[in-house]
Amino acid sequence: MPVTKVLTEGIGEANLRDIDVYRQRGGYVQWERAVRELTPAQVMEAADKSGLRGRGGAGFPTGRKWGFLPNNGKPRYLVCNCDEAEPGTFKDHMLLEQTPHLVLEGILLGAYGIGCTHAYIYIRGEFKEGYEIFTKALADARAAGMFGKKLFGTDYSLEVTAHRGAGAYICGEETGLLNSLEGKRGEPRLKPPFPAIAGLYGMPTVVNNVETLAYLVPVLKNGAEWFSSVGTERSKGYKIVSVSGHVQKPGNYEMPLGTTVREIIEIAGGLLPGRKFAAVQPGGQSSACIFEEHLDYPYDYESMAKAGSMLGSGAFTVFDDSTDFVKAAFNSVRFYAHESCGQCTPCREGGHWLERVLHRFVEGRGLASDLEMIERVGTTITGLNLCALGDSIEPFLISVFRRFKPQFEARIQREEAVGV
């Protein structure tokens, strides 16, 4: 089984929250080396050459993202996205709580790489414990001289601020996050302009996921080639996969990209006894389900797209044949309707409408005429929205609706509405 330990190295064995333990195990060595010996451009080059892609959901190449920053003399910001509110995703807060100094070292390296002097980490409101652990880590690291003024005797100064959100999925979307960080209503911004041009406080900004930034540490330690030699052609390196659902041992498993879907299920202990496989949602709540015919697909960005889904944040949810997909679909749509910020029409109205219709199906009060509506509205709203949340209502819903249509048909009570 290709389970590997890179970021997860030491978790469960040593108290990595303790800065001394972290340092004894080689922690902050890369950071100090970078500041003393490397130029920011070299750090950026390492990120680029490693083939590291964003682990927050979109999978955008990290080095390329940094390269969009304009050279206009304006201050730049790095914001680490630790909002992790997508159902099924639970890797970032594991890193935050178990190995906070690794998270911090990743942020420091990222900040140095883009040439920023003030980095932020936005921590989901519900992660109270993680926030406290990280705040302690920040204090310890500052006391140890890991960030602050004139680091390691150089002229480089760097400040890091941890900000705890107030609890809204939409604040994980990078521009919603920036608004929230600025103290505004957590609503995504209209793009363009993109954060690289006008982000936090209107300045050039990079938003990166916790896991993305954390991988900078081993990349610098072992070299870009070490990372890019693992994985598939365009999906390089390792990934923490959060496996949940109908498996025997749900949990976070770190592995090379390209491990097959079937292998991942086995890594997590396989299906529950006596159950049959029904579907996998391979990339978080925003991704479409894939099915039996995809079990031998490698788990990488391209193959998941080819299967009609996506790798997303690496949340891997397994459904067996006991699943009530009507309820699952309702649950998913209800989540989006609840989390919609309400700014734009298709997401605000479409999600809410679908939620009410599916609720009737759950209660066995579906109408035959609803079937056409679910398909039509569910698919049409995708692509019309301001941010990706609205476009995420469709994939799971429509993939299971089409695949498990009989389950929906069984909940039909009447042909069409009676009365008004």
Binding site: A337, S340, C344, T345, P346
Partner: protein, 691 residues
């Protein structure tokens, strides 16, 4: 008889074609070529598709986009297809690009827009039959254009609060709201108030004030027009009419000296609402203040004077117009025969034509004792004049004297624009007014303010025209640099009156001198036109004493003001919505005023009164054409009036007064039942309204 004068000032006019219209050459701009719906066009780089399409007369539907607010990308109704892009794009935030091929009307586009409309109607109450917006609603129009004829909705609609009392001016229906956030963004960007917010989230979101306090400031009414649906409605217009029953007139607001262009809608002879003229970039920038919008009810107030009134030893008795005019003429002749002085004060609240005729008739009768000034203001025409657009582009704005926020409300919106969006530096020499909620620096003296000016760039001085020694300092300081002035006059047509010659000449007495002469028993007859010195003069007591000492005082007015109560003869006048002519605003623009209703029977315009008086004296009068031509000429050529000392040393009596508000000044708010109803709601502090 008098009603029979055929002396109306012609029909509606566009902005007068005179030297006051200053055309700016467009900056040379890079052009981009594209095709929209098969039509090739070239537009400046950076133009948004929604604007580019207008050039080929193709409308891209919008809810959240607004030319003055910019794109927000919320409603998603503006979808267009751009060849080479897989997804439909929003026309409101997609800039033109070289070679772009755009379709604003095809099956794919219509399907996308149709979906947006279908979704907007899922929870919409569809109470069009009782909605004020019915007939002029963008949701109705686009639903007709792109929506489906039927609905798949089988679930009950979500209910939200209706009839929400948002503040003194507005009632909100949350169910009709399409959450375009135009109101919220307007309040933030244009009014710099940030009172309105979206509360809650997703399909539960509602529009509210952030604090829960009533939505109240000087520019609230604009949101009722920005609102594309019937969610924000004016209390004064609720359930009053359908748009197709209204008769619309475009005119200039004369509630203050800004001169905003506005549409006035009347039905069966009553004014129902005033609406903004969005295309009016020059004067109002497309906005109105709440006074200009809502203070129109006084025209039909019960206490309007509709008969000439003669003061018979303390009791006012009604007289006919014939008698009134002959008494007036007789009193003037008797005063002249007795070797007493006569005089006339007014013009700042009249139309140019009237102000011109006022000085013309009285000069012909034989007096130079003429003045428009009846308050504290000394001068209305700046030494170097500029436009409101200049204000927008200023590097620094120097605000000296009484709050232009209240005196010239919509001009203040330009100051906000200059400061918050164009980076102008705002320096105030503050009177004891509340601080504006935009970035500014307070200086203690004019000298200090001048020292804070940036070295480069245009300076615009906004001044109240009161203290002439201040005026002289500004004039001298601006002479050596790129500076100009805007005088926020207290009377709407002060600058027009000045241009028309309502000033003492050849040794004539100004207002203060006339009052002094009255005190000495030397003034035999005084005629006052739309002025209320007993309330507004720098020293009201001096004005009162002067009027009491003058044997024959004629006052042309709409209401029984403090001044009218001291008159010998009160002449019932028409207001600006009841007559046509022109005015000159703060920026020197010659603006048309067009009658939208007829005045009450028994009233006459000041012009008609003056014609009547002239006829009593057998004086020759200009023809209508001559009058129009003269007015245009004088408005265009009137230069600055040398700064004069007014009222002698007593000019600057400091009278303790409450801070002025936009409702102050015209004397009409207290007679407007709609405004007094707001007052009753305690929304406008009583002491701030002119009684």
């Amino acid at each position: 008889m008098a009603q029979n004068f055929e002396f109306s000032l012609g029909e509606r006019r566009a902005l007068a074609p005179t030297g006051v219209i200053r055309l700016k050459m467009a900056d040379a701009q890079e052009l981009v070529n594209l095709t929209i719906d098969g039509v090739p066009l070239s537009v400046p780089k950076g133009t948004l598709l929604v604007e580019a399409a207008k050039q080929i007369k193709q409308e891209i539907p919008v809810y959240c986009y607004h030319t003055k607010l910019g794109p927000a990308g919320l409603c998603r109704v503006c979808l267009v297809e751009v060849e080479g892009m897989p997804k439909l794009q929003i026309g409101c935030n997609t800039p033109v690009a070289e070679g772009m091929v755009v379709h604003t009307q095809n099956a794919k586009v219509n399907a996308g827009r149709g979906m947006v409309l279908e979704l907007l109607l899922v929870n919409h109450p569809l109470d069009c039959p009782i909605c004020d917006k019915g007939g002029e609603c963008d949701l109705q129009d686009y639903a007709m254009a792109y929506g489906r004829g039927s609905s798949d909705v089988a679930d009950p609609k979500q209910s939200k609060p209706k009839g929400v009392d948002l503040g003194p001016t507005i009632v909100l229906d949350e169910e009709r709201c399409v959450v375009c956030q135009r109101c919220v963004r307007y309040d933030d960007i244009i009014a710099a108030e940030s009172q309105l917010v979206v509360k809650d989230r997703g399909h539960n979101d509602i529009i509210a004030t952030a604090t829960g306090d009533p939505y109240a400031h000087n520019f609230t009414g604009n949101v009722t027009e920005l609102c594309p649906v019937g969610a924000l409605t004016s209390k004064t217009y609720r359930f009053k009419s359908r748009p197709w029953d209204l008769v619309r007139t475009q005119t200039s607001c004369t509630q203050c000296a800004v001169g905003c262009q506005q549409f006035v809608d009347q039905r069966s002879g009553s004014l129902l609402r005033a609406q903004m003229v969005e295309s009016d970039d020059r004067v109002s920038d497309g906005w109105l203040c709440d006074r200009g919008r809502y203070n129109i009810g006084f025209y039909t107030a019960d206490d309007r004077i509709t008969q000439p009134l003669y003061n018979d030893n303390g009791t006012f008795v009604q007289v006919g117009w014939d008698d009134a005019l002959s008494m007036w003429a007789k009193a003037i002749r008797e005063a002249q025969t007795a070797g007493k002085a006569i005089g006339a004060i007014g013009g700042g609240r009249l139309l140019n034509e009237e102000a011109y005729l006022l000085q013309h008739v009285f000069r012909a009768i034989g007096t130079q004792n003429l003045d428009w000034r009846a308050g504290r203001q000394a001068v209305a025409t700046p030494a170097r004049t500029g436009t409101y657009q200049d204000l927008e582009k200023a590097a620094a704005i120097l605000m000296i004297g009484e709050t232009p926020e209240e005196r010239a409300p919509v001009m203040w919106l330009r100051v906000i624009k200059a400061v918050t969006r164009n980076g102008a530096k705002l320096i105030r020499v503050a009177t004891a007014d509340k601080a504006p909620n935009i970035a500014h620096v307070d200086a203690k003296s004019v000298e200090e303010a001048l020292s804070l000016l940036p070295a480069q760039g245009q300076v615009v001085v906004v001044w109240d025209g009161i203290d002439t020694s201040v005026g002289a300092k500004i004039r001298d300081a601006m002479a050596s640099r790129n500076g100009m002035g805007l005088i926020a006059s207290e009377q709407p047509n002060a600058r027009g009156a000045e241009a028309m010659g309502m000033l003492p000449a050849s040794g004539g007495m100004d207002t203060g001198a006339m009052f002094d002469a009255a005190g000495r028993g030397e003034l035999g007859a005084l005629s006052l036109f739309g002025v209320n010195p007993v309330r507004n003069f720098s020293n009201p007591e001096r004005a009162r004493a002067a009027l009491e000492a003058t044997p024959f005082v004629v006052v042309s007015e709409l209401f029984m003001t403090e001044t009218a109560r001291l008159a010998t003869l009160v002449l019932p006048a028409r207001g600006a919505y009841e007559k046509s002519g022109t005015v000159v605003n703060i920026a020197g623009d010659l603006l048309p005023v067009n009658a939208s209703v007829q005045g009450p029977v028994g009233t006459l315009s000041d012009l008609e009164m003056l014609v009547g008086l002239a006829q009593q004296f057998g004086l020759p009068l200009p023809t209508v054409e001559e009058l129009e031509r003269t007015v245009i000429e004088k408005a265009a050529t009137a230069g600055p009036v040398a700064l004069r000392e007014l009222h002698g040393e007593a000019a600057h009596d400091t009278i303790a007064r409450p801070a002025r508000t936009i409702w102050d000044g015209g004397g009409t708010a207290a007679h407007d039942p709609r405004i007094t109803r707001m007052l009753a709601d305690k929304m406008i502090p009583t002491e701030l309204v002119e009684a």
